[in-house]
Symmetry: C2
Subunit: 334 residues, 2 copies
């Protein structure tokens, strides 16, 4: 058994987690705010799995679940708060619970996650930092629990895996990721349709926004950094918002020669959400930490206050610093 | 043993093909014209495999091999034409040999392919129409031959698979595709870098072209069809050509609600290359056949002569016909 750390967080193995889930009942499964395919896919796959073994469970998401996930999202059970067992999935820190943080931040009985940065805020933690997606771990958990997987569970799990791996493109993919995908193909998955919904469907208003953003694109530091501003005006003119804007970050990582792609999206009068996508040797998480944010090595974010010009300057300074450190490291090694 | 058909083409099993390759020597391996990741990956993986068992082989491509494939393309052996055994990979019809058709069109000893439309022009044929990529079949062949696979072979095979499946997104993917990918992860694959090179790297000039094409985009048939014109002027202004233009077709299949995406690219004074991407129930191959072309169900093409307006009208008429047939089928079934 893994030991309890100073936060009072006990780390569990897959088998211990399986036993935990079989022993308890009346589950409230929490996703993180601004839900993505992995937190939702993991939550619903766990919900369907618990239902299969006769447990009552509900899924609570702090934000509205985007319609594109309708193919695996269903109305869940009613679970009373009092006697509930609270499970968080794919949640690295309690602040990511958003509107649910106050109620549930200190009440999570079990957290199932794959972020190496996990803040150990739950009483019990199943953490596999080598998993490309939390959905990988949920798949393994359902297997260990010998729970029947059905088509909708498979769709939820596959969604988690493809969204967190960019459809098997990112550095987090392992042989295991593909082995699990192969097993999910035993079900009526309709994987092309899932990929289409997750990656290859853009609205006409998003096409419009992309045109505007490309017109405003800036290149910096010998074209190694691209900065894409998404102003409130652009969002207003096109009607784009929220998850529509994720795809702009995708553009930022796709330009030849660019190893740091910044998307600077206005979210308030003088407030911007920065999304950073990097390629090795640059660490997006380390750069965004300097801006008060965090994330993964290849993709991270931060919220920065100020005018567009101020925020751009701060973000570019953080990128520049990382580039200078790397350049020095390179020349020192020569 | 599978029988010989009226063309004199003998269909082989994997084992028979393995025996064929062990029995012969001095291989000339041919790729198709306008080479893609699958024909090149298959050709080089086969080349490395044959080298491993002491055979001499060379790879001949009818066109210049794009630089982005440099990570698995090497100088191959010198093989004399006279006593060579000619192997074609991923070539559905002899016309796809391009500049090599005259010399090799009737001289192919063995063709390894996965196109259901294969025209059986070779003396021997290993055809697996269920394979997502010819590279899948080459992988299985090397396994049956018990040939050592090394890092560069794995990279070539992985490239073939990801390029023909849009990184595991298309309808041709099966559990086997993922099982093979999992096995290729045993090697020093650097899959994220391969995916980056194949899918997520666009030049600044391509960004420019995309902006222009989006400005000229037309929607037809209740927005179910998008038409993206790529004129000679646009190509000239941006400096984009050839494979740069593939990504425009990708845009054409990505717009919400669109089930037929047409890219109409000028390739001569009055000559256009049409690329069609469709979603079920529309069959791109059937639609392009009407225009004198062909391809797969989800992606096909044709070359059409005429002015831009004439070519657009012909292409749209073919799409409209398919839509009307489908709509009638649907209402008849109601």
């Amino acid at each position: 058994m893994k030991k309890t750390d100073q936060n009072g967080c006990r780390e569990l193995t897959l088998r211990q987690t399986a036993r935990f889930l079989k022993r308890h009942d009346h589950y409230i499964i929490l996703t993180h705010a601004s839900p993505d395919g992995d937190t939702l896919g993991s939550a619903y796959a766990l919900y369907y799995g618990l239902n299969e073994i006769g447990k009552t469970a509900c899924v609570i998401c702090p934000d509205v679940i985007p319609k594109k996930y309708d193919y695996f999202v269903r109305k869940t059970d009613h679970v009373k708060r009092e006697n509930a067992t609270v499970v968080a999935v794919d949640i690295a820190a309690k602040s990511l619970l958003g509107a649910l943080e106050e109620e549930f931040g200190d009440a999570v009985d079990l957290n199932i996650d794959h972020h190496i940065s996990n803040a150990r805020f739950a009483k019990n933690l199943l953490l596999d930092a080598d998993a490309a997606a939390t959905a990988e771990t949920i798949f393994e958990l359902l297997k260990v629990m010998k729970v029947n997987i059905n088509d909708i569970t498979a769709k939820a799990l596959y969604t988690g895996i493809v969204t967190d791996t960019g459809s098997f493109k990112y550095t987090n993919v392992t042989a295991k990721t593909h082995m699990i995908a192969a097993q999910l193909y035993d079900f009526n998955l309709n994987a092309p349709e899932i990929n289409r919904l997750m990656f290859d469907t853009k609205s006409r208003k998003l096409l419009e926004l992309e045109k505007m953003v490309l017109d405003a694109a800036e290149f910096h530091f010998g074209d190694r950094c691209i900065l894409l501003p998404v102003t409130a005006e652009m969002q207003l003119k096109t009607g784009c918002s929220g998850t529509d804007l994720e795809s702009i970050a995708v553009i930022s990582r796709s330009v030849e020669g660019v190893c740091a792609g910044l998307t600077v999206k206005q979210i308030g009068e003088e407030e911007f959400k920065i999304s950073l996508r990097t390629y090795p040797p640059f660490d997006a998480s380390a750069i965004c930490k300097k801006l008060g944010g965090g994330g993964h090595k290849g993709a991270a974010g931060a919220t920065v206050k100020g005018t567009l010009e101020e925020v751009k300057a701060r973000a570019l300074a953080a990128v520049k610093e990382a580039m200078e450190e790397t350049d020095e490291g390179t020349s020192a090694a020569e």
